[in-house]
Subunit: 340 residues, 2 copies
DNA sequence: ATGCAAATTGACACCGGTGTCAATTTGCAT
DNA sequence: ATGCAAATTGACACCGGTGTCAATTTGCAT
């Protein structure tokens, strides 16, 4: 390796390596003259701090990791993209770890992962965000984390999405189209986001003065197949719903599939819509109407908060902005007035 | 941190820390007695080697990273899964880095990424696998890498997929169904895999004794939209092809979309198929016939080779097995005899 | 010029490991 | 018992940084 060390810089600048360290870390108590001189040498030699040496000395690796187990690959992919963008800007590496929510040794596996990488910051994706046993372990190991979409949105260390509003507004949109029999496909019961969407849906129906037919709410699990299954149930009901809203796009695409299979015309005979706005929405036919969740921004924000936390900069001023993101209705081809 | 260090183990076992180091690294020249004693203490205290200390002393981080810029998210996702599985088994962390093939500062960005993470092993995904400028930089920095699907498949440090055979067999399948006017959507011209598929397609047509209509080969770029555009071109030709084979599934799904939009019945009026077998194939309607590329296995294998290389174990014996994976035809709902 | 607090700087030890090399112990032939 | 090569072990320096604390320098009031 031809890498330049802090010692090289110190020698060239005629100062001690501790002083160089002070300059690198932007510490106070370095004279302007010294700082300028050292900075010049740093640029001249192309010095870059070795993150391993730093990590060992400070006992903080500044590495962060994304822990994921999410049934919707499109969601994860967008989230990952947002996180990576922030990491890239902040010159941080991102470790990835795939885990299985159902694994009985989950917490142990994650602990081992942390020992292997020494990551000291984690981004938790639902349903991991609410696994108390995991959070306890992280606390014990003093590993920082930011949770995405946890149950208690008020804890400072999380970023979420206003799922109630998303489902509420999507339902309102369907009502404006004059749909009466609107069905709803729930997400996984372990994930709070599913309950939030359900609340939004129920509120919208209630606020419209309609008595909800409980038969039109069916269980799903956020997976494509559960969307297919839910649609199979709903589409054999009489009267058939004229619109189906699914708690995520992955399931909505499943609904689309089952409807096609039965020869039901979309949107003429059935409106279908989802929530999230993953890339899948513009790949299927017809393109899926969805509620855009700014997944990219959520990922970016989560990474940003985590990194600031690790670097010890308190999220002050304009940084402590809203961490509950709003949705946006994206009307595409899969919804219309009944019969059109 | 309550972590146990090598010093703690040494003290408890009554040996020097160098001896403990020898035991950890499975070096020879440690008496059986000492080894047993030290191992006992290691288990008793729950000692785990600190990867940072090791990395600093050995000047090898043993961290690996996946560098990706691929237009098909489904492909990348499956690859990632295979890589992660291997990393998990080998107790290695995986860094992720998203880059843009087109960025003029690509090589510099990647160099910076390596400096920030000290990854000393990389997995390169096409089209990065063939970027000579990048490979040179890695050579210079002595960063090891494994390439996926490079142009020169014979270099030992790569894992690929038999694209010629995949396209050849898929075309044969369509010919067996008695299709005559079979169209082909090319992938990105910068990626060798596209050329390989084209060769397979041409060979199959030639071997069947058919004169190829060059009008039926259109350019694509491996993206969904390029599939839509290619289909728009192909489906307005007279006579219209009765089957379209795309060089990847992402584009095939685009073809499906455009055909639906035009009210063309699939597969009755048009057979559509792709290559890769990404998860998207079973989400769209009708489910897409595809050539399964063992993407998971490819990712796993790439990670395995890289890790072995880093650990210095020469891939000997049964390990040096075939690194060109074969395809498998998966017939689903999007193909049939013409007119059925 | 003098005194003193604050600012600046560097010597040294340390983070948790490994490499080098010399010292000690072991095993075996004589 | 003796000699000698091979096996085993540990002292010490080092990888590239940072923390502590004491020494030196600076800036200002007197």
């Amino acid at each position: 390796m031809s890498s330049v060390t802090i010692n090289d810089v110190a020698r060239h600048a005629g100062v001690s390596k501790k002083t160089v360290s002070r300059v690198i870390n932007n510490e106070i108590n370095v004279s302007a003259e010294t700082r300028t001189k050292v900075m010049a040498v740093i640029h001249q030699l192309g010095f870059k701090r070795n993150p391993l040496g730093m990590a060992l000395a400070k006992n903080r690796s500044l590495f962060i990791a994304l822990l994921a187990d999410n049934p919707s690959p499109g969601y994860l992919q967008k989230l990952q993209k947002g996180i990576l963008q922030c990491c890239s800007e902040e010159h941080m590496g991102l470790f990835l770890y795939d885990c299985s929510y159902r694994s009985p040794t989950l917490v142990h596996e994650i602990e081992e992962f942390i020992d292997n990488t020494l990551a000291d910051g984690l981004i938790l994706v639902p349903p991991l965000s609410d696994k108390q046993e995991l959070l306890d372990m992280l606390q014990r190991k003093r590993v920082r984390y930011i949770r995405i979409g946890p149950k208690d949105q008020d804890s400072g260390d999380c970023v979420s999405f206003n799922g109630v509003k998303a489902a509420y507004e999507m339902t309102q949109y369907l009502l404006r189209l004059h749909h009466k029999d609107i069905a709803f496909v729930l997400g996984h019961p372990d994930q709070e986001s599913s309950h939030r969407c359900e609340r939004g849906f129920r509120n919208a129906i209630a606020d419209a003065g309609i008595t909800l037919n409980e038969q039109l709410i069916v269980q799903g699990y956020y997976t494509h197949q559960s969307g297919v299954d839910a649609a199979a149930t709903l589409l054999s009901r009489t009267p058939r719903p004229t619109a189906i809203l699914a708690a995520n796009d992955e399931m909505a695409v499943g609904v689309l599939y089952e409807a096609h299979r039965r020869g039901i015309k979309i949107p003429a005979e059935l409106s279908v819509c989802g929530i999230d706005d993953i890339s899948l929405t513009t790949k299927v036919w017809p393109n899926l109407t969805s509620m855009r969740q700014p997944i990219n921004a959520i990922g970016y924000r989560a990474a940003f908060k985590l990194i600031k936390k690790l670097k010890g900069e308190t999220a002050a001023g304009n940084d402590s902005g809203a961490d509950i993101f709003d949705c946006e209705l994206i009307v595409r081809e899969s919804t219309s007035q009944p019969g059109r």
